[in-house]
């Protein structure tokens, strides 16, 4: 270095030999071991939680299977269907409500449901590969969409409906359930 004595060169060389104290190495190695233990060794932290949850689910499942006839089976909210339901075009005159019985559940409460009606604009949508039927509550005025007369005098109320939704999230058809 410029104009520096030999002494200072030696001092500079002394600065080059400084190292971190031993305790830093110990801390860093301890961190390495902890990390390795978490990554490679032993069960993961969530393993026990998952095991407990699985056992709890198995017990609940077994209990429900044994007491299936005592427990009222809930009406499914969402059902996946293999093929699209038959859809009728929007009638010009109001259709009559048809009574449908669910073939699967004998003691299920009887539901009155209309056929499925294509929603306006659904024809222009591409036919989906998969569809789902979603049970939802819709305003009564939705009946007007498919040609049902709606009395405006009583305050707006809500009715249940099954809506066919394509995989693209677009609603294709609707039926009303009572």
């Amino acid at each position: 270095m410029h104009g520096m004595s030999e002494e200072y060169r030696r001092a500079l060389a002394a600065l080059k030999t400084e190292n971190a104290p031993e305790r830093v190495e110990q801390n860093v190695l301890a961190a390495f071991r902890r990390r390795r233990q978490r990554k490679f060794g032993g069960a993961p932290r969530w393993g026990w939680g998952a095991a407990v949850a699985a056992v709890a689910l198995a017990i609940v499942g077994a209990y429900r299977m044994q007491h299936a006839d005592l427990v009222a089976r809930p009406v499914p909210v969402t059902a996946h269907i293999a093929a699209p339901p038959s859809v009728v075009s929007i009638p010009m005159s109001p259709p009559k409500l048809a009574v449908r019985r669910s073939p699967r559940v004998a003691n299920r409460q009887e539901e009155i449901a209309t056929p499925y009606f294509a929603l306006p604009g659904a024809d222009s949508l591409p036919s989906p590969d998969a569809e789902a039927v979603v049970r939802m509550v819709v305003p009564r005025s939705t009946l007007q969409l498919v040609g049902f007369p709606v009395n405006e005098v009583p305050p707006p109320e809500f009715i249940r409906a099954d809506v066919v939704v394509g995989q693209d999230g677009m609603a294709r058809a609707i039926r009303f359930v009572q």
Binding site: M1, G3, E7, Y8, L15, A20, A31, R35
Partner: protein, 193 residues
């Protein structure tokens, strides 16, 4: 997939190159990690110590740098830069953040309690302390250039990569830093005489 980026002659014992060692670290080898630590802690520690003037900050920086390496070893790309440069880059961010936080761009020298200094003769010990003070009194950019090029003996290109500047900038910073350092050392010599 194991990547062997080193020539076969370096595949033996402690001379294994950093890229291979990092592969072993990722596979959980403590020996490989210890080798990497011992090989690179010195430059990181000296950089942080000479930049901050505080041993406890330097220790903290060393610890942080190797924890970052442990946490995300894939961030190191052996084809882009050597491991020392990568680790010094992390250390630099930590030190600059600390300097910014403390707003002490000319940090005070902390009295070092290094037991090795006790073995040195008083004159030489004083000389080392004077040099350290003179380095600490340099502006941060100049100080960094001196640490990287004169203490760590890195080439200009590597130092420029760490400092994110052109090689010419490093050269000029180093030139001015050395001149300042020599002047300050002469002044101190005059004072002590």
């Amino acid at each position: 997939v194991e990547l062997f980026l080193c020539p076969p002659e370096y595949q033996t014992v402690d001379e294994t190159c950093d890229a291979d060692l990092m592969q072993r670290v990722m596979a959980g080898s403590e020996a490989a990690f210890t080798t990497i630590y011992r090989r690179h802690q010195g430059p990181v520690y000296r950089y942080a110590l000479n930049m901050s003037g505080k041993a406890d900050i330097a220790e903290e920086v060393v610890q942080d740098v190797f924890l970052v390496l442990l946490r995300d070893p894939c961030q190191f790309d052996a084809l882009r830069s050597p491991l020392t440069a990568y680790l010094l880059g992390i250390a630099r961010n930590r030190v600059l953040r600390w300097l910014e936080k403390t707003r002490s761009f000319e940090p005070e020298l902390e009295q070092q309690a290094d037991p090795r200094n006790a073995l040195l003769e008083p004159e030489r010990k004083q000389m080392i302390e004077q040099l350290r003070r003179a380095i600490l009194a340099l502006p941060a950019n100049y100080r960094e250039a001196v640490i990287l090029c004169d203490i760590e003996e890195m080439d200009y290109a590597a130092a420029a990569e760490i400092q994110h500047c052109a090689v010419g900038t490093i050269r000029s910073r180093l030139h001015r830093a050395r001149a300042l350092l020599a002047a300050r050392m002469r002044a101190r010599e005059g004072c002590t005489a």
